[in-house]
Symmetry: C2
Subunit: 342 residues, 2 copies
């Protein structure tokens, strides 16, 4: 992994800004979800004690690197793009796992984002407990740990100024000091003519930060990723079509996912539906939105039109939901090429 003195060799296609997390995945029944008080399909923020309590009740786990924006960066790199990641881990075993995996995936991340481990809530590398029900749906409980301390001082402004797209996960608004860092990153990116992309991440995340997310759509965000529920909540819209119209009015490029129904691209020319890629069996939906964004942004930074971008997103999402874990296991570049998209 490069140290801080070395600049990026080449400009990046996508620089992803988000929480660095290691996922702990386990199969669970709907009853077990109820028992630990988690809402199916959502991401709950939990403190250290609750995280330990939920973990204690979970079945045998599989640990894999995760973090929404980090997954997107890995997807961009898997397609052959140049990707970087900004986020914080601790100098502990799970931090080592995260750093290893991000580097082994070809994503640029710098040593300065490794904090000394400390006692208490913010001391360790963040972990996301992922309970996968038999229908393939994932329900998450995240303890942010040191990922929750990302602040303006953690920005690499030179990296932000050298990317085509700055991609920010909505989850990051849950980190108390991250907001000023995000604001500064958006300024630097726009000054360098980069696009700024935002993912709404999760319906509860939209409820927590609705006003701020809406504000960002007026001049700060150029590309918006959201699923159906998130975009409806954002605009308080009764129907998906009303939400899509609201996106169109803001003038941002909208990439709105609808699960098995595919996605809808919203441009100044209106909305276009794009079907999902065929999937044999949905094993675990963890990372579906993250990998959709990866495919979409790879396309966007390689001269593809929005509809092609959405198809590429669908292929990456289809790969990641066909196995346990939120990062690609098959050769997504080959899958995209087979579909005539590369």
């Amino acid at each position: 992994m490069p140290d801080d003195s070395r600049p990026a060799d080449d400009p990046l296609d996508v620089l992803a800004l988000g929480s660095a997390l290691v996922d702990v995945l386990a199969h669970a029944s709907d009853e077990e979800l109820d028992k630990v008080g988690l809402t199916k399909g959502s991401m709950a923020l939990v403190d250290l004690e609750r995280s330990a309590s939920i973990y204690g009740s979970m079945g045998p786990g599989t640990e894999v690197s995760g973090g929404s924006a980090a997954n997107t960066a890995v997807g961009v790199a898997a397609l052959g793009g140049r990707a970087g990641f900004l986020g914080k881990v601790a100098d502990d075993e799970l931090g080592e796992v995260f750093l290893h995996d991000i580097a082994a995936s070809g994503v640029l991340m710098r040593r300065r984002h490794v904090a000394a481990p400390a006692e208490g809530e913010n001391g360790a590398t963040g972990r996301c407990l992922v309970l996968v029900t038999p229908d393939g749906e994932r329900t998450m409980a995240t303890h942010l740990g040191v990922a929750g301390t990302f602040a303006t001082a953690d920005l690499d402004e030179d990296l932000v100024a050298s990317t085509q797209v700055l991609y920010i996960e909505g989850y990051l608004w849950d980190a108390p000091e991250a907001k000023s860092a995000i604001r500064r990153a958006v300024e630097v990116a726009h000054a360098a003519d980069a696009l700024v992309a935002l993912s709404l991440s999760d319906p509860f995340c939209v409820e927590r930060h609705q006003r701020e997310f809406l504000g960002l759509l007026h001049g700060e965000v150029d590309v918006l990723f959201a699923n159906e529920e998130e975009v409806r909540l954002l605009f308080g819209a009764g129907t998906f079509d009303a939400a899509a119209s609201a996106v169109e009015e803001t003038g941002v490029l909208g990439a709105l996912t609808r699960g098995a129904a595919g996605s809808v691209v919203v441009t100044a020319q209106g909305a276009t539906a794009v079907p999902a890629a065929p999937v044999d069996a949905v094993v675990d939906t963890t990372g579906a939105g993250d990998l959709y964004a990866a495919g979409f942004l790879y396309g966007l930074t390689h001269g593809q039109d929005p509809e092609q971008c959405a198809r590429l997103g669908g292929i990456c999402a289809g790969e990641v939901i066909s196995h346990l874990g939120a990062r690609p296991q098959a050769d997504v570049r080959a899958l995209a090429a087979a579909a005539g998209l590369l």
Copy 2:
């Protein structure tokens, strides 16, 4: 997890004694194996520095609890048996993962086997780097860490005296202080009329400890698990049949695995071949021998004859090689019942 003051609620079917390890699995090509100097299909013991160097060259990983004997204990529990495990982890994040998974699998392990983490070679929880080639074969590099410090003081003699079978992995002979602990455990087990089972673990392990393993077959070991190469090396036999005859002469019950060709059970009545369970696609052979032993020992402690034991072993091995990782993911009890073996 029970603390040390609490005795086992019930006598155990199988108490497994071995190295507590967390596996780090990654896909690798044959060329990548050569580059890091590992011999395909084998387990190499590596120091901390070499472990870090191999890890650095590995692709993105998946972390799952492992350890040969621990996998066997988990398999016995998955079949509905009462299983315990003796082995040491450190009080660190990978140790926490190991403890969580063993408890979540229903295997008894006690708090006294958690050591304070320390600097240097023996300070951390052991890890096994597992490189899985496209043919499904696994090649391992193990850094034992604190697992290499298992000693007589770490024995729970009350547990050893309350199990039907004491199962010992051959790998444990690589831990310098483990030999006297094993000798004592065998004494206690036999005094309590328990059977002692030994797995030869790995061809290189047989080469390292051949004389001691041979010595154990005269009065100390009652059940021997080995694959074809291991048993031939043990007896210096030119053919499998000669090795099987040598097992028969020792008077131990032999369970000899031959990969896709199934297994051969050796009793005082001679050798009986048992076919392997059908497997759609071999994904990762990690844990095949461990889970074969689990099925076999579950059968042995539940009144089944040796041939039935071998069939049950084959079903468990077939399940574990059909996915990444060395512990069962499907309901092996249901698979065994479907095959008419429970």
